[in-house]
Subunit: 110 residues, 2 copies
Amino acid sequence: MPKNKQDLLQGTLDLLILRILLSGARHGYDIAKRIQMVSDNVIQVGQGSLYPSLHRLERRGYIKAKWDISETGRRAKFYLLTPEGKTKASVEKNRWLEFTSAVNLILKNG
Amino acid sequence: MPKNKQDLLQGTLDLLILRILLSGARHGYDIAKRIQMVSDNVIQVGQGSLYPSLHRLERRGYIKAKWDISETGRRAKFYLLTPEGKTKASVEKNRWLEFTSAVNLILKNG
DNA sequence: CGGCATACCTCGAATGTCGACATATTATAT
DNA sequence: ATATAATATGTCGACATTCGAGGTATGCCG
Protein backbone atom coordinates (compact mmCIF):
# COMPACT_ATOMS: atom_id res chain seq x y z
CA MET A 1 0.00 0.00 0.00
CA PRO A 2 1.48 3.30 -1.05
CA LYS A 3 2.43 5.58 1.81
CA ASN A 4 2.15 9.04 0.31
CA LYS A 5 0.13 10.60 -2.45
CA GLN A 6 2.85 10.43 -5.06
CA ASP A 7 3.71 6.80 -4.42
CA LEU A 8 0.89 5.41 -6.50
CA LEU A 9 2.18 4.72 -9.95
CA GLN A 10 2.21 1.08 -8.98
CA GLY A 11 3.99 -0.21 -12.03
CA THR A 12 1.83 1.63 -14.53
CA LEU A 13 4.26 4.36 -15.46
CA ASP A 14 5.65 2.50 -18.47
CA LEU A 15 2.11 1.94 -19.72
CA LEU A 16 1.26 5.62 -19.29
CA ILE A 17 4.30 6.70 -21.26
CA LEU A 18 3.58 4.26 -24.07
CA ARG A 19 0.00 5.51 -24.32
CA ILE A 20 1.07 9.14 -24.33
CA LEU A 21 3.49 8.43 -27.17
CA LEU A 22 0.75 6.87 -29.29
CA SER A 23 -0.31 10.40 -30.19
CA GLY A 24 3.16 11.32 -31.43
CA ALA A 25 6.75 11.93 -30.37
CA ARG A 26 7.40 13.89 -27.21
CA HIS A 27 10.34 14.63 -24.97
CA GLY A 28 10.55 13.50 -21.37
CA TYR A 29 9.72 16.73 -19.64
CA ASP A 30 6.70 17.13 -21.91
CA ILE A 31 5.49 13.60 -21.22
CA ALA A 32 5.50 14.26 -17.49
CA LYS A 33 3.57 17.47 -17.88
CA ARG A 34 1.04 15.83 -20.19
CA ILE A 35 0.45 12.96 -17.77
CA GLN A 36 -0.21 15.48 -15.06
CA MET A 37 -2.53 17.56 -17.22
CA VAL A 38 -4.57 14.74 -18.75
CA SER A 39 -4.98 13.09 -15.35
CA ASP A 40 -6.31 16.30 -13.83
CA ASN A 41 -3.29 16.61 -11.53
CA VAL A 42 -4.01 13.26 -9.89
CA ILE A 43 -0.85 11.69 -11.28
CA GLN A 44 2.42 13.56 -10.91
CA VAL A 45 5.52 11.89 -12.23
CA GLY A 46 8.75 12.89 -10.55
CA GLN A 47 11.96 13.04 -12.53
CA GLY A 48 13.41 10.22 -10.46
CA SER A 49 10.67 7.99 -11.84
CA LEU A 50 10.36 9.46 -15.31
CA TYR A 51 13.87 9.16 -16.68
CA PRO A 52 14.56 5.65 -15.42
CA SER A 53 11.28 4.59 -17.00
CA LEU A 54 12.20 6.15 -20.35
CA HIS A 55 15.62 4.47 -20.31
CA ARG A 56 14.00 1.18 -19.40
CA LEU A 57 11.57 1.39 -22.30
CA GLU A 58 14.36 2.34 -24.67
CA ARG A 59 16.61 -0.47 -23.46
CA ARG A 60 13.78 -2.92 -24.07
CA GLY A 61 13.20 -1.63 -27.58
CA TYR A 62 9.74 -0.10 -27.11
CA ILE A 63 10.76 3.50 -27.76
CA LYS A 64 13.57 5.25 -29.61
CA ALA A 65 15.13 8.62 -28.89
CA LYS A 66 16.44 11.36 -31.08
CA TRP A 67 17.72 14.78 -30.10
CA ASP A 68 15.82 17.70 -31.49
CA ILE A 69 14.68 21.17 -30.59
CA SER A 70 11.68 21.59 -28.29
CA GLU A 71 8.80 24.04 -28.68
CA THR A 72 10.69 26.46 -26.47
CA GLY A 73 13.82 26.31 -28.60
CA ARG A 74 15.89 24.11 -26.35
CA ARG A 75 17.57 20.83 -27.10
CA ALA A 76 15.48 17.90 -25.93
CA LYS A 77 15.33 14.16 -26.42
CA PHE A 78 12.24 13.19 -28.34
CA TYR A 79 10.93 9.68 -27.91
CA LEU A 80 8.81 7.77 -30.39
CA LEU A 81 7.27 4.33 -30.32
CA THR A 82 8.86 1.45 -32.19
CA PRO A 83 6.55 -1.14 -33.81
CA GLU A 84 7.17 -3.32 -30.74
CA GLY A 85 6.22 -0.35 -28.59
CA LYS A 86 2.91 0.05 -30.36
CA THR A 87 2.11 -3.60 -29.81
CA LYS A 88 3.21 -3.30 -26.19
CA ALA A 89 0.98 -0.26 -25.67
CA SER A 90 -1.98 -2.31 -26.77
CA VAL A 91 -1.12 -5.49 -24.88
CA GLU A 92 -0.42 -3.66 -21.64
CA LYS A 93 -3.61 -1.67 -21.92
CA ASN A 94 -5.56 -4.91 -22.09
CA ARG A 95 -3.65 -6.33 -19.14
CA TRP A 96 -4.43 -3.18 -17.19
CA LEU A 97 -8.14 -3.36 -18.01
CA GLU A 98 -8.31 -7.03 -17.11
CA PHE A 99 -6.48 -6.46 -13.86
CA THR A 100 -8.50 -3.45 -12.75
CA SER A 101 -11.75 -5.26 -13.58
CA ALA A 102 -10.63 -8.08 -11.34
CA VAL A 103 -9.78 -5.69 -8.53
CA ASN A 104 -13.11 -3.94 -8.92
CA LEU A 105 -14.87 -7.29 -8.61
CA ILE A 106 -13.20 -7.77 -5.26
CA LEU A 107 -14.03 -4.23 -4.17
CA LYS A 108 -17.69 -4.97 -4.83
CA ASN A 109 -18.02 -8.61 -3.87
CA GLY A 110 -15.16 -8.89 -1.38
CA MET B 1 5.84 -2.98 -16.06
CA PRO B 2 5.16 -6.43 -14.70
CA LYS B 3 6.99 -9.20 -16.47
CA ASN B 4 4.74 -12.18 -15.88
CA LYS B 5 1.05 -12.66 -15.28
CA GLN B 6 1.36 -13.04 -11.53
CA ASP B 7 3.46 -9.95 -11.07
CA LEU B 8 0.56 -7.55 -11.24
CA LEU B 9 -0.61 -6.90 -7.73
CA GLN B 10 1.24 -3.61 -7.93
CA GLY B 11 0.66 -2.45 -4.43
CA THR B 12 -3.01 -3.37 -4.25
CA LEU B 13 -2.70 -6.57 -2.25
CA ASP B 14 -3.21 -4.86 1.09
CA LEU B 15 -6.33 -3.18 -0.26
CA LEU B 16 -7.68 -6.49 -1.55
CA ILE B 17 -7.18 -8.16 1.79
CA LEU B 18 -8.88 -5.31 3.66
CA ARG B 19 -11.86 -5.47 1.32
CA ILE B 20 -12.15 -9.24 1.64
CA LEU B 21 -12.18 -8.93 5.42
CA LEU B 22 -15.05 -6.43 5.34
CA SER B 23 -17.37 -9.41 4.89
CA GLY B 24 -16.06 -11.10 8.02
CA ALA B 25 -13.06 -12.82 9.58
CA ARG B 26 -11.06 -15.23 7.45
CA HIS B 27 -7.75 -17.01 7.70
CA GLY B 28 -4.88 -16.41 5.30
CA TYR B 29 -5.21 -19.46 3.13
CA ASP B 30 -8.90 -18.72 2.74
CA ILE B 31 -8.30 -15.09 1.81
CA ALA B 32 -6.00 -16.13 -1.02
CA LYS B 33 -8.52 -18.61 -2.37
CA ARG B 34 -11.32 -16.07 -2.18
CA ILE B 35 -9.33 -13.42 -4.03
CA GLN B 36 -8.69 -15.95 -6.76
CA MET B 37 -12.32 -17.03 -6.91
CA VAL B 38 -13.96 -13.60 -6.83
CA SER B 39 -11.53 -12.28 -9.44
CA ASP B 40 -12.33 -15.13 -11.80
CA ASN B 41 -8.81 -16.53 -11.54
CA VAL B 42 -7.28 -13.32 -12.85
CA ILE B 43 -5.56 -12.57 -9.56
CA GLN B 44 -3.58 -15.30 -7.85
CA VAL B 45 -1.83 -14.47 -4.62
CA GLY B 46 1.22 -16.54 -3.81
CA GLN B 47 2.01 -17.33 -0.19
CA GLY B 48 5.22 -15.37 -0.46
CA SER B 49 3.10 -12.28 -1.03
CA LEU B 50 0.14 -13.18 1.16
CA TYR B 51 1.75 -13.73 4.54
CA PRO B 52 4.07 -10.74 4.47
CA SER B 53 1.05 -8.61 3.57
CA LEU B 54 -0.98 -9.98 6.47
CA HIS B 55 1.85 -9.36 8.92
CA ARG B 56 2.29 -5.87 7.51
CA LEU B 57 -1.38 -5.04 8.01
CA GLU B 58 -1.32 -6.47 11.52
CA ARG B 59 1.85 -4.59 12.44
CA ARG B 60 0.18 -1.37 11.28
CA GLY B 61 -2.92 -2.05 13.32
CA TYR B 62 -5.42 -2.58 10.52
CA ILE B 63 -6.17 -6.21 11.27
CA LYS B 64 -5.97 -8.48 14.31
CA ALA B 65 -5.37 -12.21 14.44
CA LYS B 66 -6.75 -14.93 16.64
CA TRP B 67 -6.20 -18.65 16.42
CA ASP B 68 -9.25 -20.76 15.84
CA ILE B 69 -10.41 -23.85 14.01
CA SER B 70 -11.03 -23.66 10.28
CA GLU B 71 -13.93 -25.15 8.35
CA THR B 72 -11.84 -28.24 7.74
CA GLY B 73 -11.12 -28.71 11.43
CA ARG B 74 -7.57 -27.47 11.43
CA ARG B 75 -5.97 -24.72 13.46
CA ALA B 76 -5.80 -21.50 11.53
CA LYS B 77 -5.15 -17.83 12.17
CA PHE B 78 -8.30 -15.80 11.61
CA TYR B 79 -7.90 -12.14 10.80
CA LEU B 80 -10.46 -9.45 11.43
CA LEU B 81 -10.53 -5.73 10.73
CA THR B 82 -9.87 -3.23 13.49
CA PRO B 83 -11.79 0.08 13.42
CA GLU B 84 -8.69 1.62 11.81
CA GLY B 85 -8.75 -1.18 9.27
CA LYS B 86 -12.33 -0.42 8.31
CA THR B 87 -11.48 3.21 7.79
CA LYS B 88 -8.41 2.23 5.84
CA ALA B 89 -10.43 -0.10 3.61
CA SER B 90 -12.65 2.80 2.70
CA VAL B 91 -9.90 5.37 2.22
CA GLU B 92 -7.78 3.07 0.09
CA LYS B 93 -10.74 2.11 -2.04
CA ASN B 94 -11.29 5.78 -2.84
CA ARG B 95 -7.61 6.25 -3.61
CA TRP B 96 -7.74 3.26 -5.92
CA LEU B 97 -10.81 4.57 -7.74
CA GLU B 98 -9.31 8.01 -8.13
CA PHE B 99 -6.05 6.60 -9.38
CA THR B 100 -7.57 4.18 -11.88
CA SER B 101 -9.88 6.90 -13.20
CA ALA B 102 -6.81 9.03 -13.81
CA VAL B 103 -5.03 6.21 -15.59
CA ASN B 104 -8.09 5.54 -17.70
CA LEU B 105 -8.17 9.19 -18.73
CA ILE B 106 -4.65 8.81 -20.06
CA LEU B 107 -5.50 5.55 -21.80
CA LYS B 108 -8.28 7.33 -23.66
CA ASN B 109 -6.83 10.81 -24.19
CA GLY B 110 -3.12 9.98 -24.12
C1' DC C 1 1.77 -45.90 2.53
C1' DG C 2 2.11 -42.00 -0.78
C1' DG C 3 0.33 -38.02 -2.51
C1' DC C 4 -2.47 -34.07 -2.29
C1' DA C 5 -4.85 -30.21 -0.03
C1' DT C 6 -4.78 -27.48 3.94
C1' DA C 7 -2.31 -24.11 6.69
C1' DC C 8 1.44 -21.61 8.49
C1' DC C 9 5.98 -19.33 7.61
C1' DT C 10 10.82 -17.22 5.93
C1' DC C 11 14.31 -15.88 2.69
C1' DG C 12 16.82 -13.58 -1.05
C1' DA C 13 16.55 -11.77 -5.74
C1' DA C 14 14.54 -8.58 -8.60
C1' DT C 15 12.12 -4.51 -9.61
C1' DG C 16 10.19 0.01 -9.31
C1' DT C 17 9.20 4.48 -7.00
C1' DC C 18 10.77 8.30 -4.58
C1' DG C 19 13.13 12.49 -2.86
C1' DA C 20 17.33 14.68 -3.21
C1' DC C 21 20.81 16.15 -5.75
C1' DA C 22 23.51 17.76 -9.92
C1' DT C 23 23.92 20.25 -14.35
C1' DA C 24 22.89 23.59 -18.07
C1' DT C 25 20.14 26.94 -20.69
C1' DT C 26 16.78 30.54 -21.21
C1' DA C 27 13.07 33.71 -19.84
C1' DT C 28 11.22 36.82 -16.52
C1' DA C 29 11.11 39.74 -12.74
C1' DT C 30 13.50 42.98 -9.53
C1' DA D 1 22.80 43.61 -13.64
C1' DT D 2 21.17 39.95 -10.84
C1' DA D 3 18.35 36.69 -8.96
C1' DT D 4 14.97 33.36 -9.65
C1' DA D 5 11.95 30.41 -11.94
C1' DA D 6 10.98 27.27 -15.73
C1' DT D 7 12.84 24.17 -19.04
C1' DA D 8 15.36 19.90 -19.76
C1' DT D 9 18.30 16.02 -18.74
C1' DG D 10 20.19 12.82 -15.63
C1' DT D 11 22.01 9.88 -11.26
C1' DC D 12 21.91 8.06 -6.62
C1' DG D 13 20.62 5.50 -2.50
C1' DA D 14 16.79 4.32 0.52
C1' DC D 15 12.71 1.86 0.75
C1' DA D 16 8.82 -1.16 -0.16
C1' DT D 17 6.73 -4.82 -2.49
C1' DT D 18 6.27 -9.03 -5.17
C1' DC D 19 7.86 -13.38 -6.34
C1' DG D 20 9.49 -18.17 -6.49
C1' DA D 21 11.58 -21.46 -3.79
C1' DG D 22 12.01 -23.60 0.20
C1' DG D 23 10.59 -25.28 4.97
C1' DT D 24 7.17 -27.38 8.60
C1' DA D 25 3.10 -29.90 9.98
C1' DT D 26 -1.58 -32.05 9.84
C1' DG D 27 -5.31 -34.67 7.88
C1' DC D 28 -7.72 -37.07 4.13
C1' DC D 29 -8.21 -40.39 0.38
C1' DG D 30 -6.99 -44.16 -2.44
